[in-house]
Symmetry: C2
Subunit: 197 residues, 2 copies
DNA sequence: TTTATAAGATGACGAGTGTAATCTTTAGTA
DNA sequence: TACTAAAGATTACACTCGTCATCTTATAAA
């Protein structure tokens, strides 16, 4: 390596970061390789020194997105009082702040439908990412054992993603707030109420 | 009009039908105008006799998708015994059949995230379509008045869409069935149980 | 039967895409 | 200091896209 030893890693990281945001905000086909590289402060030519192709970046960018989302929720939960952690996570997930920041928010709410259309090989790699996302958030869910917690996770989080993306599809700000608040009430009483007892 | 009077309407309809299916199955950018017209049995040139552009078709195709979905669910409910109608709708929505037929299924589960990225003018037109979709299904929801029913609708249906799209993003058939069945149990007990009393 | 008009087919254009080959620049090593 | 391997820039290519101008065909009206 003739360039500084950390420089390639940093560049690699910047590309993934730019893609993680752009894919969630505009879809993975919303911006080309050239645009992504520009956001990362480079030109498109160097892209293939870091990735074999756009598909390769796709998985990494989605993995980054899930990591960021989990980080944020875990951090929010850490600041919440005991027994209010899941409640805090739900409130944060179904907030106007999250709605207005798709590029920095949950991947499911922005890209799940697109992931469903990917080739099985790509989907399988993403499933592994989703699994580790789930495992990180599992401790905050109610349930006697992990199996029960997983089951609840797989209902709660995809559901909230559906609510969030539907709220984003609306134009009327009042309607957006209504659907979010109705869903907050419902999911807190269904999942976070019994866990605080 | 020099061509048969009904022919244009029929062609127009075939284009919308092809788009309604293709957009849900592959995303609105998954196939070009030429491909859509081929599916409708025509060449790409005639497209602009029917629509001002692809955006114009977009709204019509999504409207068609919502209509079809509502039709199917209302028809399923009509065949169900009294007090079991919402239960039937939920079971049908969260079924493997629906999962495996994105092109003929719920628009929210396939295109909501994409709709959220459209220009406000396009989104506003689609919101009107979504409203009429909601009104058609409102009678099947529990609640004292329409406001309460609407509130429940806006939680239940977007949530189920989120579950369905997440299940579609998975590769393992067993995992797909598990998430669908967990969600069925949950939503039936949360929404359809009290309505049958 | 002729004519007018609109539907549909054909072909082409410019813009944008992902990818690759080929330069140029960088800094660690000899 | 000279050399070299790798990062990044430049340029180019084949391809697809939405759109439009133009041509052909079909049929209702005269």
């Amino acid at each position: 390596m003739r360039y500084p030893v950390e420089q390639k890693a940093e560049t690699h990281d910047r590309i993934i970061e730019a893609a993680a945001r752009s894919f969630r905000e505009h879809g993975s086909e919303g911006q080309g390789v050239a645009g992504l590289m520009k956001e990362a402060g480079l030109t498109h030519g160097g892209f293939y020194r870091h990735f074999t192709g756009k598909d390769d970046l796709y998985v990494d960018a989605i993995a980054r997105g899930f990591q960021q989302t989990a980080d944020k929720m875990i951090m929010a939960a850490a600041r919440a009082p005991h027994g209010e952690q899941l409640r805090t996570i739900i409130e944060r997930y179904l907030s106007m702040e999250h709605l207005e920041d798709p590029g920095g928010g949950c991947v499911l709410s922005t890209l799940a439908a697109e992931i469903a259309r990917q080739r099985p090989a790509v989907r399988a790699r993403i499933n592994a990412v989703m699994k580790s996302y789930r495992e990180r958030l599992l401790p905050f869910l109610p349930g006697r054992d992990d199996a029960e917690k997983r089951c609840r996770f797989m209902v709660l989080f995809p559901s909230m993603a559906g609510v969030l993306m539907t709220a984003r599809a609306m134009t009327d700000p009042a309607a957006r707030k209504e659907i979010l608040s109705a869903a907050r009430r419902f999911y807190i009483s269904a999942f976070a109420q019994q866990s605080s007892r």
